[in-house]
């Protein structure tokens, strides 16, 4: 006992000595003394105060855009989970593979060609230091830009920190658009043809329209050229990303045709439930999470404090869309379908993506709420009237609600933000606040998105179908695409049954010992 007591006494003495010795180490636990004039001298030696402030502001914006870019990158996981969860188990490896590899294909195609076409003339982004090297824009007539001419492969003058941060951000946006059709065309899209599509959308289809809206092209200049408000505006891409993605999905699904067994001879549709609802719901939450980067990040500036309004509008619209979709389905079909509720949240997020910077929270809730009902009606319309098979609702979530998003901007923009946007001095105002010109600009941009995207995508898929066939073989589709096209089963330890058990397909090749 005495031994134990003396050990404790010794410990107590040592600890009090240590504690009382601490002030001698002179740290800064409150933070009040760190990073003042000394930091300025150390980091900006010899530079003026103006230089220091300018550099620091741009640095802050670089960090902001970087964080937003990685949030949007993570949306790839969201899409992969949503689409795989909404499809059948026998195709799970195939569906998730298309969602996975589209990122890689798109990233490289955009790096090589797409980014240059879209942002070749995008100099002047002050928040990122000006991005001066991107000063090549092809205009048919002065002020009517069609595509960019600089920045391919990010070499030469494009090897610039500002260009690179812009590329990072824009690349993850492009890949969001590229991955949308993989949902509508799932379970019967031949993988080799899909790879060709990946190159095409990233290199040509997406960047051209993107240039018209964000790259200094003619849609953005409708304000300065024709007096239509601030020109066509799409803050974060309700049309550039989601509209283009959704309409491409429609064109592709039309050319592809419905899954075997989806429609009966009399045209009535059969339900084909997804195999993993929790996966799909988790994916939806991940998408909502990434949307903070999608919308708020599109300010390209942390110094622009409007990002708080943007972020709140975004999440409120998503919540409103989920609720109205759920209530509508509950009322009409008797139960609150989780899959439609998830689509509803995404619909709200898609719709608010264009107007989020220009509206107040009440408008955001209204826009999202309308999108929630619109998406349900659109799913029914696409399936029952157009007779197009869309396993995940991509055409409705992204196409229909994306168009609603850009139109809603022309209605609800309240004039509290956006002065100078697209080179027009005044703030952005919609129909309800006296901005009829802006509303017309939005209609023109929306119509352009629909016509351009559908025409180009439909022709592309038709030609591709002629050249190599875009649909999987019938036997492969029946048994499940995992083995025939991927060579692996998503769930090898679980027995799975194809839709047509009579049909036995042999492995496509013998394994050599």
């Amino acid at each position: 006992m005495w031994k134990r007591l003396s050990v404790l006494l010794l410990l107590a003495v040592i600890m009090s000595l240590a504690v009382s010795a601490m002030p001698a180490f002179a740290g800064d636990p409150s933070g009040l003394k760190t990073g003042g004039k000394d930091a300025y001298d150390a980091l900006y030696a010899g530079k003026s105060v103006k230089d220091a402030i300018g550099h620091t502001a741009v640095a802050l914006n670089f960090v902001w855009v970087f964080l937003a870019a990685i949030l949007v990158f993570f949306m790839q996981a969201g899409f992969a989970l949503v689409e795989t969860g909404f499809c059948r188990a026998k195709n799970a490896a195939h569906v998730i593979m298309t969602n996975f590899v589209i990122f890689a294909i798109g990233a490289l195609a955009y790096w090589a060609v797409g980014f240059g076409l879209m942002f070749g003339g995008a100099h002047g982004i002050a928040s990122l230091g000006g991005v001066a090297p991107l000063d090549g824009l092809f205009e048919v007539v002065k002020g009517w830009g069609i595509f960019g001419t600089k920045g391919f492969f990010l070499v030469g003058g494009a090897y610039d920190v500002g260009v690179f941060i812009l590329f990072l951000f824009q690349m993850v946006f492009m890949d969001t658009a590229a991955t949308i059709p993989t949902g509508a065309m799932a379970e019967r899209w031949k993988f080799s043809a899909f790879c060709v599509y990946g190159v095409f959308i990233a290199a040509i289809l997406y960047p051209i329209y993107g240039n018209w809206v964000w790259g200094g092209g003619w849609l953005a200049k409708l304000g300065s050229n024709l007096g239509l408000g601030n020109g066509y505006i799409d803050w974060a891409g309700s049309s550039v990303i989601h509209g283009v993605g959704g309409i491409t999905a429609l064109a592709g699904a039309l050319v592809l045709g419905p899954r075997i067994g989806k429609f009966n001879k009399d045209g009535s549709p059969n339900a084909m439930p997804g195999h993993h609802l929790p996966m799909a719901m988790l994916g939806t939450i991940i998408l909502a999470f990434g949307w903070f980067g999608f919308n708020a990040g599109s300010s390209l500036a942390a110094t622009d404090l409007r990002i708080s309004v943007i972020a709140v509008n975004t999440i409120l619209a998503g919540a409103a869309g989920a609720i109205t979709a759920m209530l509508y389905v509950w009322r009409r079909f008797g139960k609150p379908d989780p899959s439609m509720t998830a689509n509803g949240m995404l619909a709200g997020l898609v719709a608010i993506t264009a107007p989020c910077a220009f509206v107040g929270s009440v408008s955001a809730v209204i826009i999202g709420g309308i999108a929630g009902v619109l998406v349900v009606l659109s799913v029914l319309f696409v399936e029952r009237v157009l007779k197009v098979d869309d396993p995940v609702g991509a055409i409705s979530v992204h196409g229909a609600c994306g168009i609603w998003g850009v139109v809603s901007l022309g209605i609800f923009a309240d004039g509290t933000y956006g002065a100078g946007y697209n080179g027009v001095r005044t703030a952005v105002k919609g129909l309800l606040f006296g901005g009829t010109q802006q509303f017309y600009a939005q209609l023109i941009g929306a119509a352009t998105a629909i016509v351009y995207t559908f025409a180009v995508a439909y022709v592309f898929f038709k030609v591709l179908d002629r050249v190599m066939g875009i649909r999987s073989a019938r036997e492969d589709e029946l048994v499940g695409l995992d083995i025939p096209e991927m060579g692996v089963l998503a769930y090898p330890e679980f027995e799975y049954r194809g839709a047509d058990d009579d049909f036995q397909r042999q492995p496509s090749r013998e394994i050599a010992e």
């Binding site: 009535s268 549709p269 059969n270 339900a271 084909m272 439930p273 079909f333 008797g334 139960k335 379908d337 899959s339 439609m340 349900v376 799913v379 029914l380 399936e383 029952r384 609702g393």
Partner: protein, 113 residues
């Protein structure tokens, strides 16, 4: 020897196993099955389209027992798995001509005891 094949509701499986163990009927093979007899399926709506499930999930328990145990096994299973609602299931009895224990090579009744 007789094979007892019992198809009944999943939620009854634990009770049936316990009850069979109590009467000395050791050993069984259990599979997940789908089926329908008198019990109708149900119709739901999935994303606006009708979804009809006509085969309900059930559990199938197979055991091979000596002839003198059969009646007791039948009444144990039926008594434990019964709820009184349509869909309680069925029990089928068939003859087994031979049984072999893989580990010892023993045949006949000793193999199933």
């Amino acid at each position: 020897m007789k094979k007892v094949e019992a198809i009944f509701r999943h939620i009854m499986l634990d009770d049936v196993k316990l009850a069979l163990d109590k009467i000395g009927a050791k050993g069984m093979t259990v599979t997940d099955v789908k089926g329908a007899g008198k019990q109708r399926g149900y119709t739901e709506v999935y994303r606006g389209s009708k979804l009809t499930i006509s085969l309900r999930p059930k559990v199938k328990v197979e055991l091979v027992v000596s002839d003198d145990l059969v009646e007791e096994v039948i009444s144990t299973i039926a008594g434990t798995a019964r709820t009184g609602e349509i869909g309680d299931g069925k029990i089928f009895i068939s003859d087994i001509t031979e049984a072999v224990a893989i580990r010892t090579g023993v045949r006949g009744e000793p193999a199933i005891n």
